[in-house]
Amino acid sequence: MNAIWLVILPILGAFLLPLVYRQNTRVGTWIGPFILGLSLILAFGLWGDIAANGVQTILMGGFPAPVGIVFYVDHLALLFVIMLVLGTLVLWLGKEKGNIQEETLLLLIVAGGSGLVLSGDLFNIYVFYEIVAVASYGLAASRGSYAASLRFLILGALGSSLLLLGIALIYAITGTLNLAHLATHPEILQGTVGLTAFALILIGLGVKAELFPVNTWVPEVYTTASARISALLGGLISKMALLVILRLLVLLYDTSAAHLLLLTLGVLGVITGELAAMRATHLRQVLAYSSIGQLGLVAIAFSIPGPAGIIAGIALALHHALVKPALFMLTKAWGKQLSHLAGASQSLLTTILFLVLALSLIGIPPLPGFWAKFLLLKGALATNIAAYQMVITVVLIATVIETIYFMRIVRVMFNTKPPPIKAPALQELVPALVFVTLLFISVLNLGTIGKSLEIVATSAADKSIYMNFLPL
């Protein structure tokens, strides 16, 4: 079993998809789900392999580690790949068939996202990041929102150029691009040049990860693109970029300066995102700002040194990856202004789904959202560093604000004065239903999930495992 298939299969499928569609439309519509399903099976198989035999490293072209490109396959990376593939597969349900270009881009964004988390080479990460970025500009424009997508592209292209500049700086001072090889000389990267490079890389990856100063595209794109694309970008793709930042922090920048930089950006993201969500007047916009806030929480968690932070970050990210896409898919039926939601409670199923998701996002026990936030508080308290104690206040304030704006939405929903809006068809709710089912399954298995997360995080936080495969 070779993890390269996780990247190659979707790319090959995307290359051939237009040709197959021209020959036979019926076969063409099944290629996308088939390849995603195959990738999912592969990923689960690899998970078992790694649990049995330890982490794998895959050499491209058979050239040994620092010279050639290396894929590093551990549980953390696989977890995010599974999350992305599974999420995309669920979002594929109920999708109208026959949009060849959109399906091609969806396959390619999965390939790019998987490569991004698996790759152990800085420039390779840049290339996969560009695949993800260009595909998301295209997808953001797929429903005719060209202007929003263009503004997204300009910000993203600026970020990518700065990311490349940061990678160039790292190559200039170390002469290598391999993450494990870089991790053997951490002291070189902690000078001025190294930290400048980190800041530039953070700006670059931050565009996709919705970090504080470069997230102005979020509300525009998520309100104008289709619900499915907003769900994909906000719920799944953004975490891939955050995982790369985590890898860099663990392997290369295990210093307080880098941790505090990410912490600051995360705290600012949470505060600005949640405050803006309270003022927003449009349902999609509320979700967009709340996603900025939630990703800020993940960034805070990743900035906590040691495995405790990584566990909290993974838990928050996984939870958000279930809840936010489901919420976005609900808005497909009743998007628009908040005031249009009046009477939405007529549809019982939708109301229950929305309530469950909102409560979990706020963090009401026993829903998984509570445990994720609890892990974050636990991790922050355990550090004994003053800056992280402050995080507790931030998280509590964020929770209060989240409660306020979700309860405001619920109040509007139960307001039956104006004629109630049309209830969404059952078919439109399928993806949201699947996500909620997954959420409930995770509630029932909290114990096992917690244990396996702990194993994943401890091995991810240990950089000696990562450096083991170097032949030097």
Binding site: N2, I4, I8, I11, L12, A14, F15, L16, P18, L19, R22, I58, L59, M60, G61, G62, F63, P66, V67, G68, I69, Q101, E102, T104, L105, L108, A111, G112, G115, F123, N124, V127, F128, E130, I131, V134, A135, Y137, G138, L139, A141, S142, Y146, L169, Y171, A172, I173, T174, G175, T176, L177, N178, H181, H185, I188, G191, T192, V193, T196
Partner: protein, 227 residues
């Protein structure tokens, strides 16, 4: 307001970069690195005279595949954004007779030049990207000269799909044969000969065809859009 904050951002970045460049020049940092290893090993490992192409296709072949994918993503997204032009859409007027015949005359020469650059990519400067750009130009100039005979997008998308798949299939063959994706195949041969460097010229051919078809398709699509 925007001007001021933009100016501050630019000046800040400038000062930072000046400091960085100063330390790059004056503090000689870690030398060696992977570049010198590759310079030593490449002739034996891969067997190209042009070492940049052995980095592109052998040591960092996955980057090249990624780059082809980015081009493909962009072409697909451009197709998604621009959509199909109406067949009865107004077109630009034809250029004059002289331009048209010049374009027709130029066509075979540019094809030959592009093919030459692609096939000698492992020996001399140039290769799939440069040759592909020339191939794209060869197909695009006639369109500029006579817009009434547009590019056949079916053929160009067929070429880009097959060339991209060919690149991956060569990589997969290596995976089954040697156990590593995109490992060099077919031996290295004599450095400097046309038939050397194993599967590299084949990979370059796939890259050239794909880049050519992709860029030609992009240019033609942009050209065809209605005002």
């Amino acid at each position: 307001m925007t001007l001021l904050s933009g100016l501050i951002f630019t000046i800040g970045l400038g000062l930072l970069l000046i400091v960085v460049i100063k330390s790059l020049i004056f503090e000689q940092v870690l030398t060696g690195g992977i570049g010198s290893i590759i310079l030593e090993q490449a002739p034996n490992d891969v067997g190209t005279a042009n070492i940049v192409s052995s980095v592109l296709l052998a040591y960092r072949g996955l980057d090249t595949l990624g780059e082809l994918t980015v081009l493909f993503v962009a072409a697909t997204a451009v197709g998604l954004v621009l959509g199909q032009p109406r067949p009865d859409a107004p077109r630009d007027p034809d250029a004059g007779f002289i331009l048209r015949s010049a374009a027709d005359l130029l066509f075979p020469f540019m094809i030959i030049l592009g093919a030459y650059i692609i096939l000698h990519g492992h020996l001399t400067p140039g290769g799939g990207f440069q040759g592909g750009a020339i191939l794209a130009a060869a197909f695009f100039i006639p369109i500029l000269a006579s817009p009434s005979s547009p590019l056949n997008h079916k053929v160009s998308s067929l070429v880009e799909g097959l060339a991209g798949s060919a690149f991956i299939l060569i990589g997969l063959l290596a995976l089954f044969d040697k156990g590593y994706f995109l490992a060099p195949l077919l031996g290295t041969g004599e450095v400097g000969e046309l038939f050397s460097a194993g599967s590299l010229p084949l990979l370059y051919l796939a890259v050239g065809l794909k880049v050519g078809a992709e860029l030609a398709g992009l240019l033609a699509r942009l050209h065809e859009t209605e005002v």
